[in-house]
């Protein structure tokens, strides 16, 4: 077994009595690609909120790299540790250009003073060019992000995530609003990132999950219902019950 990148143990979180996360335990190994599926309200997004410091768990352990307790940190801390997150609804800076969106995302000093005295560099421009190439927006660098199509915004946000060079990428429904061809390209991209970095993908689209070809975790009512290969979990009667049985 490889070293753990992220370790959740018996995590609980309730909102007004509703147990959004209920004794959730999950381990993501370094370089692993993992898909998390589950019906609406299974706690997928709350889980990401807890990992990224947006929401504090009521109890349980959330450990980064075997030694850092994430429950004490906020969003900026978690991001600086190397946790990148892509939202379900594409969230980009609409009134900035595509290049500026990427420029702000490039890994580097995030303090006020560094931003104030920051000067654009050749190296930075090259990194942005490289990212634009990966996300297929080479000709759109100077357009405002708000003018992009839904699918292009998805790609831009993936580009912003890559620009951060995180150790763990949390990707919430990346394929929403993409064409089939784009969906397959996204899956390919995520597969190529994994290995070097850890990737956790939340997805509803089973074709996409199949294309990821990785270990799948099924969440239900805030805890893990089943874990294993896609074929393995889809044969699980409980999973079938949850997905089809109502």
């Amino acid at each position: 077994m490889r070293e753990s990148q992220l370790y959740l143990n018996d995590v609980n979180r309730s909102f007004d009595g509703f147990k959004a996360i209920n004794g959730l335990s999950l381990v993501i190994a370094k370089g692993e690609l993992r898909a998390v599926v589950g019906p609406n309200g299974a706690g997928k997004t709350t889980m990401l909120d807890i990992i990224t410091g947006k929401t504090r768990p009521d109890s349980g352990e959330v450990v980064w790299n075997k030694d850092t307790d994430l429950t004490k940190l906020d969003e900026a801390d978690c991001a600086r540790l190397g946790i990148g997150r892509k939202f379900q609804k594409p969230t980009v800076f609409e009134t900035l250009s595509v290049r500026d969106n990427l420029m702000l995302s490039l890994s580097g000093d995030r303090e006020v003073r560094a931003s104030l005295f920051h000067r654009p560099s050749r190296d930075e421009a090259d990194r942005i060019d490289g990212l634009l190439d990966i996300i297929g927006l080479t000709d759109d660098g100077l357009r405002l992000a708000g003018d992009l199509s839904h699918g292009q915004k998805q790609w831009l946000e993936i580009g912003m995530l890559l620009a951060q060079e995180p150790e763990l990428l949390l990707v919430d429904e990346p394929a929403a609003g993409m064409t089939d061809a784009e969906t397959m390209r996204t899956a390919e991209l995520l597969r190529s990132i994994a290995g070097e970095r850890s990737v956790l993908v939340i997805e509803h689209d089973m074709e996409f999950v199949r294309a990821l070809n990785c270990k799948v975790t099924v969440l239900h009512r805030g805890s893990v219902l089943a874990e294993g290969s896609l074929d393995h979990v889809s044969a699980n009667p409980e999973v079938i019950e949850v997905y089809l049985g109502r």
């Binding site: 990224t52 991001a79 800076f93 900035l96 931003s115 104030l116 920051h118």
Partner: protein, 374 residues
């Protein structure tokens, strides 16, 4: 790729500002009264006041237009800068007051003070007062912003507490026990740095300083907003949580720009007071702060020069209407705000730019068809 420091519209505005800053004092001091081109002294003071408003508008645009922080209490920072300057001017009166007390200003003698309150010490020195003009609003903005931004108070809630802040200061400054002149405020100033405040040359000098301060304010705003920091501020405005997940400490960025803006507002207040000759608690009234928002909205948010333009337009309109039709002024102001919000979301500057863009678009095909005919 990076925006130039002096864009076309900033360049035009600064050039016009420079012309006005030079021409108005010349028209007042050099051209004799009665000749064409003479600028009467009261107009110099009036225009000087407008320039201070314009600087105040620029300071609000910095936080509202770029970082999306709608402050409804910016008048407080302006008034605090004004009070700091007023305190200096009071102390410079010295023993020439009605009661001829060398240390205590007249109102303190009248209220039976036996000694100068501690916070009046140092204000006899101009450099100290000049420092306080920026320091006092800056510290208030820092303390206020520290708590508000750290607690993630945003949007309308933040606007409400900024309004409450200026209202609380209004009530506090009305009290005689504050030691700042109560509801009469500070007035009867005589001179600044030894120059008679009623002299035309002093008025012109204050006017020039106001013009320079506005130009400097726009440049500082421009340096900040064209830097990467400015882009982070816009990012916060567009998608605050996204900015956090990129690792930026949003509260630090907001605090920084809020403090810079408050200091700029303080400078505007300090230049305003010697030109109007009085500072009283009325400057803290919530309505004043709301008017600043209207200036910025009218001129065009997030443009700096638009904010200044909006302030100049409204101030000029106010001077005219409150004299000609005093009872309708507030209705006009309210109507302007509603109409701008509905029809000109990008303000007057946005209207001008879209007109220009339209013209370009219609001109280009014309030129092509003319070519084709030839």
């Amino acid at each position: 790729m990076t925006e130039p420091l002096i864009s076309r519209r900033i360049g035009i505005f600064l050039a016009l500002l420079f012309v006005v800053t030079v021409a108005v004092p010349l028209g007042n001091l050099v051209i004799a009264p009665g000749s064409t081109g003479h600028v009467p002294s009261h107009i110099v003071a009036l225009l000087g006041k407008y320039l201070c408003y314009a600087l105040l508008a620029v300071s609000l645009d910095l936080v509202w237009g770029f970082a999306g922080i709608l402050s409804l209490g910016h008048g407080a920072f302006f008034a605090l800068g004004g009070y700091a300057m007023g305190m200096h001017l009071m102390r410079e009166i010295g023993d020439r007051g009605v009661y001829a007390n060398p240390l205590l200003p007249d109102f303190m003698v009248f209220l039976g003070y036996s000694e100068l309150p501690w916070f009046w010490y140092g204000f006899d020195m101009f450099w100290f007062a000049a420092l306080m003009v920026m320091f006092v609003p800056g510290v208030l903005a820092f303390v206020f912003g520290w708590f508000a931004f750290r607690s993630r108070v945003t949007g309308v809630y933040l606007s409400i507490i900024t309004q409450a802040m200026t209202y609380a200061l209004l009530l506090a400054f009305f009290r005689n026990e504050m030691g700042l002149g109560g509801n009469n405020g500070l007035t009867d100033f005589r001179d600044v740095l030894g120059f008679d405040l009623t002299a035309d040359s002093t008025r012109s000098a204050l006017f020039v300083l106001s013009g320079l301060a506005l130009g400097a304010g726009i440049l500082v705003g421009r340096i900040l907003t064209t830097s990467k920091l400015g882009k982070v501020l816009v990012a916060v405005r567009d998608a605050e949580s996204r900015t956090r997940f990129l690792g930026y400490r949003v509260e630090h960025y907001k605090l920084f720009v809020f403090v810079v803006s408050a200091m700029m507002a303080g400078i505007a207040g300090a230049l305003y007071v010697p030109q109007v000759g009085i500072i009283n608690p009325g400057e803290f009234s919530p309505a004043n702060s709301i008017e600043i928002v209207i200036w910025v909205a009218l001129g065009g948010r997030g443009t700096l020069v638009g904010a200044a333009l909006g302030a100049l337009l409204v101030a000029a309109g106010k001077s005219y209407l409150t004299a000609a039709f005093p009872e309708i002024w507030l209705f006009v102001l309210g109507a302007v705000f509603i109409l701008v919000t509905i029809f000109l979301p990008k303000g007057v500057l946005g209207l001008i730019e879209s007109r220009r863009a339209q013209k370009r678009d219609t001109l280009v095909p014309d030129a092509k068809s003319a070519e084709a005919k030839a």
